[in-house]
């Protein structure tokens, strides 16, 4: 019952590599993957080994097998700790995590992806951070960094959406904490402006005037021309407008307001 190794004649190392390169350039990534796998099994320490493992990451990624691409990247980094191209493997690993949860719908339909759980994009953030740490002047560093900014902004955006919900829910203390979380943890994201506004309004609603003034001062200092300031500079946010939750209002499509 020893498993018979299916005998297929083994080609030369170079031919496998050439076939793989050709297939990859012509976009046939399935064939590329097969050749690279063959190269791995028959010539694990040949001259093309390192290059084959690197190409495998790219081929699997283009084959939409993002999980496989991540695994191939990990394997490359484990087998070639000293390689000069480690930055490419790390970058691809980050990219795979960045896009793994992104369905086709989310790319082309008007869905507000930022309102959902970031999923594996947090792992992408960690991969890119490692890339920036170890290879600051790699040619992929700039793109990785830009994506990190996007992920961070998305996290801040999530906090803000939760704050807006709690305002609708009239749970102003919860809204205040969510807004404060943004200011305290994501101080350099665009969400900070609205967070400061929410903090000001919710402190005001809770009659904590000193805290409200501090938040307003910070807002004025960092976002002097925010459009919550009228031309003459004084603060006029429409505050925490209460959604009219009466049944009457809903039935009459808002014509007759309830309490």
């Amino acid at each position: 019952c020893a498993s018979q190794q299916k005998e297929e004649e083994v080609l030369a190392e170079q031919t496998y590599y050439e076939n793989a390169r050709e297939a990859m350039n012509s976009g046939n990534f399935n064939e590329a993957e097969q050749n690279l796998d063959a190269l791995e099994t028959y010539y694990p320490f040949g001259r093309y080994a390192e290059q084959a493992q690197l190409d495998l990451i790219y081929a699997r990624y283009q084959n939409m097998d993002l999980e496989g691409a991540r695994a191939a990247a990990d394997r490359f980094m484990r087998l070639n700790p000293q390689s000069e191209h480690l930055d490419y493997a790390l970058y691809l690993r980050g990219l795979a995590s960045y896009n793994i949860d992104l369905g086709l719908a989310a790319r082309y339909m008007p869905i507000d992806v930022a309102a959902r759980n970031p999923g594996e994009q947090l792992q992408a953030f960690r991969d890119f951070a490692q890339l920036l740490e170890r290879f600051p002047d790699s040619e992929y560093a700039a793109d990785a960094r830009q994506r990190m900014i996007a992920v961070r902004n998305r996290m801040a955006g999530l906090e803000l959406r939760a704050a807006r919900y709690y305002i609708k829910r009239e749970a102003y203390l919860a809204a205040n904490n969510r807004a404060r979380y943004v200011v305290e943890n994501y101080p350099s994201t665009p969400a900070v402006e609205e967070a400061l506004i929410i903090m000001t309004d919710t402190y005001r609603a809770l009659d904590l005037d000193e805290a409200a003034d501090d938040s307003l001062a910070t807002l004025r200092k960092n976002f002097p021309n925010s459009n919550v300031f009228a031309d003459n500079g004084n603060y006029q946010s429409e505050g925490l407008k209460r959604q009219d939750r009466s049944l009457l209002n809903v039935v009459t499509f808002g014509l007759i307001g309830g309490n």
Partner: protein, 747 residues
């Protein structure tokens, strides 16, 4: 003897790069080096774990390091394992660093050999053999091979319990998973001795006695002996029952927060009852749950029985509320396509509010009732650095919520359906319900658009509208042969009136035209002649719904009632009303909800009012087919009428009665039972026409029933269902149908 290092040469490298060797070797050119420093440097290089041996030699000023690289693993294959899957073994090897491409360490291989052997012994395979070999390959690589001979498992020949007076051996052995050898037991491997199972059985023996008041129960010894040929195992369990204790008086100690009087109500043990450990733990849990409602999430209650003479014991419940806990943040995980707000709006527990276990648990079942998630798990995690703040994390696993009846659908009643209809309860993850469909089949041509926002206001006031157009050729529905065109629109509202109850209402209008009624049957012709064939009706409709079902799709617990009334108000061409009541009950038999009994019932009645004596025939109820009484063709039950070309055709009626009993069983070999359901059912139902004489009671005997088995599966395309039914009391003339299939409709 010291010497200055002019150059360092490394010999024998294969895979490892020179750079890593030079960086690990703490000596550089031009340094003075003596024996001890050299030895220290070599030890440093050894610690990289990359080399099996390192020799240093000197040629003038040049220090030469000849290294032998540790081989790397090129392949791992495992033979002969049946009871432990290769995957698990491979993970164990990988965990210990033995993986393709990794450096091969012989010591770890031997250690693993022992661990695998021990896990086999744990399964009772005493004469198992595990041998690991590492075969040298060129280029300093090694092929690892694991040969396993699992040997046979010792069968339990004899299980003897000594020292039990109050309960017989048979009664106690019934609790055991282990059984003595018999053909049935050896099939289920129950008679295979395994140490873990024995300790498990001893534990269930202990809790059996402790639940019956034997507080001093102890297991003296459990001796296992094996036959010389290692094929048979003998187990002797010596136990010492001790007296059976009954409850003396009950005390409550500690800070009770809500007062003794209310907590006493939760204590179900009375004086004289048997002291049962499981009861005591259940009470402690209900007490701490009650405190949890007040925000004491860290409350802990434990019961201490103390013997108090002549076999009675006083029980004291020590209550430690701990600090009142507050929720800092509520986080959601796994909702990659559903919006965060859709989950947050179901929460009754607020961030920054008192942490109430009640509300956290209720919010979890609210998420399950949405029907968007396969699993919902909640986890209350203390916030590091504080002793009274917790974070609540909900982890959800999304499942398809829409049903997309693809281009070719098939249903008994209306033949092949062409066209597509998309209905999605979680429209692009926004929580809103939307459906859009165009269906073309030989008997029904219809198009409809409907949209409903369940959370128009934050309290759950819903608002929605729907527009539909339908042309039905009842000829093909094998109902009397007339053509009915209907167009209409509706606006619906709804709002919660309690935690589980909801009130919906709305207005709408429908334009109905009956065509070629002249060659159908007498009843239709009389109706059309007296009432005309085109009606514009204005509807006001309302419904009250109460539901404590535990899941949106395929529930297993709870009940639901819905009472609805549709009235064509005066000013419509035909004034009539239709009222219906439907109910569903689920009784789980086991606590893992895999065996459930479901009872369902429904009644519908319609009549005319004002100057109309009866409701229009095209609004008649029909019964039979999937979704009503399985085993009979769709819409085939109830009164019939002879149409012009002589065959009698179902005509429906204005009184519908339906009932069903289902016994839901775990789906065999199914992995994920949350999206599949197998059940044995008994359906019964009938439609009557009160206006044509014959009071319903004496016709009651007419009720049709059928029994059978049905299988449902929630697929990405929508709920898919098959059913095999055997009609029980079908009269001749009924159109029975044993096999039925439906896509896109779950009921």
């Amino acid at each position: 003897d010291e010497f200055t290092v002019a150059d360092i040469e490394v010999e024998g490298l294969q895979r490892v790069s020179a750079g890593s060797v030079f960086s690990a070797f703490p000596v550089n050119i031009g340094e003075q080096l003596d024996e001890t420093e050299l030895a220290g440097a070599i030890k440093e290089l050894f610690r990289t774990g990359l080399f099996t041996d390192i020799e240093a030699s000197r040629e003038g000023g040049v220090l030469i390091l000849t290294v032998k690289e540790r081989p790397s693993i090129s392949s791992i294959d495992i033979e002969g394992n049946k009871n432990i899957e290769t995957e698990i073994l491979k993970d164990a090897l990988a965990g210990a660093g033995l993986e393709e491409g990794q450096v091969f360490q012989r010591a770890t291989l031997e250690r693993l050999e022992l661990e695998i052997l021990r896990s086999y012994i744990g399964q009772g395979r005493y004469n198992a053999r595990v041998t690991a070999t590492a075969e040298e390959l060129p280029q300093n690589r090694v092929a690892v091979r694991l040969d396993i001979n699992e040997g046979s498992v010792a069968a339990i020949q004899h299980l003897n319990i000594v020292g039990n007076q109050d309960f017989s051996d048979e009664e106690l052995i019934e609790l055991f998973e282990l059984r003595t050898s018999s053909w049935w037991n050896s099939l289920t491997n129950k008679d295979k001795y395994a140490r873990e199972r024995l300790s498990g059985d001893l534990e269930s023996l202990r809790s059996f006695y402790l639940d019956r008041g034997y507080l001093d129960f102890t297991v003296e010894s459990s001796q296992v002996s094996i036959s010389p040929d290692k094929q048979q195992v003998f187990i002797a369990i010596a136990l010492n029952e001790g007296p059976q204790y009954t409850v003396g008086d009950i005390h409550l100690r500690g800070d009770l927060i809500v007062g003794e009087e209310e907590l006493r109500k939760l204590i179900s043990l009375e004086e004289g009852d048997v002291v049962s450990r499981s009861k005591m733990t259940a009470i402690s849990e209900s007490l701490s749950y009650r405190l949890g409602r007040e925000g004491y999430a860290f409350a802990s209650v434990n019961a201490m029985p103390e013997p108090a003479g002549d076999n009675t014991a006083n029980i004291t419940f020590y209550v430690e509320p701990g600090k009142r806990a507050y929720v800092r943040r509520i986080n959601f995980e796994g909702n990659v396509s559903t919006k965060d707000e859709v989950l947050r709006q179901e929460m009754t527990q607020m961030e920054g509010g008192v942490a109430s276990t009640d509300r956290i648990e209720f919010s979890k079942s609210q998420l399950e009732r949405l029907g968007f998630f396969k699993t919902v798990n909640v986890d209350t995690v203390p916030v590091p650095g504080t002793d009274d703040l917790v974070d609540v994390n909900y982890a959800v696993e999304e499942q398809p919520t829409g049903s997309l009846s693809a281009s070719v659908g098939f249903s008994q009643s209306s033949g092949v359906i062409l066209g597509a209809s998309v209905s999605e309860n979680n429209f692009f993850g926004t929580g809103k319900r939307a459906s859009f469909g165009v269906n073309v089949s030989d008997s029904v041509k219809s198009a409809n658009i409907s949209y409903m926002d369940p959370y128009y206001t934050v309290d759950g006031v819903s608002r929605g509208f729907s527009v539909f157009g339908r042309q039905t050729d009842y000829e093909d529905e094998d109902v009397s042969s007339y053509l009915l065109d209907e167009y209409g629109a509706r606006v619906t509202f709804g709002y919660p009136t309690g935690t589980f109850t909801r009130l919906n209402f709305g207005v709408g209008l429908t334009q109905s035209d009956i065509k070629n009624w002249d060659d159908t049957n007498r009843l239709v012709e009389d109706f059309a002649r007296t009432e005309g064939d085109s009606f514009l009706n204005y509807f006001v409709f309302g419904s009250w719904r109460k539901s404590t079902l535990n899941r949106g799709l395929l529930p297993t617990d709870g009940h639901s009632h819905s009472l609805s009334l549709d009235v064509a108000v005066p000013g419509s061409d035909l004034t009539f009303y239709k009222a219906s009541y439907k109910t569903n009950y689920y009784f789980p038999l086991t606590d893992n909800n895999r065996w459930v009994v479901r009872a369902r019932g429904g009644i519908g009645y319609g009549d005319g009012y004002g100057d109309r004596s009866q409701m229009p025939f095209y609004e008649h109820y029909y019964a039979g087919g999937y979704g009503s009484v399985r085993g009979y063709e769709g819409n085939s039950l109830g009164p019939r009428v002879i149409d012009n070309d002589g065959d009698d055709v179902p005509f429906g009626g204005n009184l519908l009665t339906e009932a069903g009993l289902e016994f839901i069983v775990p789906t065999p070999f199914a992995g994920d039972t949350r999206t599949m359901r197998t059940s044995f059912f008994l359906d019964a139902g009938q439609v009557f026409d009160t206006s044509r004489g014959g009071a319903p009671e004496e016709e009651f005997g007419e009720l049709r029933s059928a029994a059978g088995i049905s299988f449902q599966w929630i697929t990405a395309v929508g709920p898919l269902a098959f059913s095999l039914a055997k009609p029980l009391n079908d009269q001749e003339g009924d159109d029975t149908q044993v096999f039925q299939f439906s896509l896109g409709q779950s009921f």
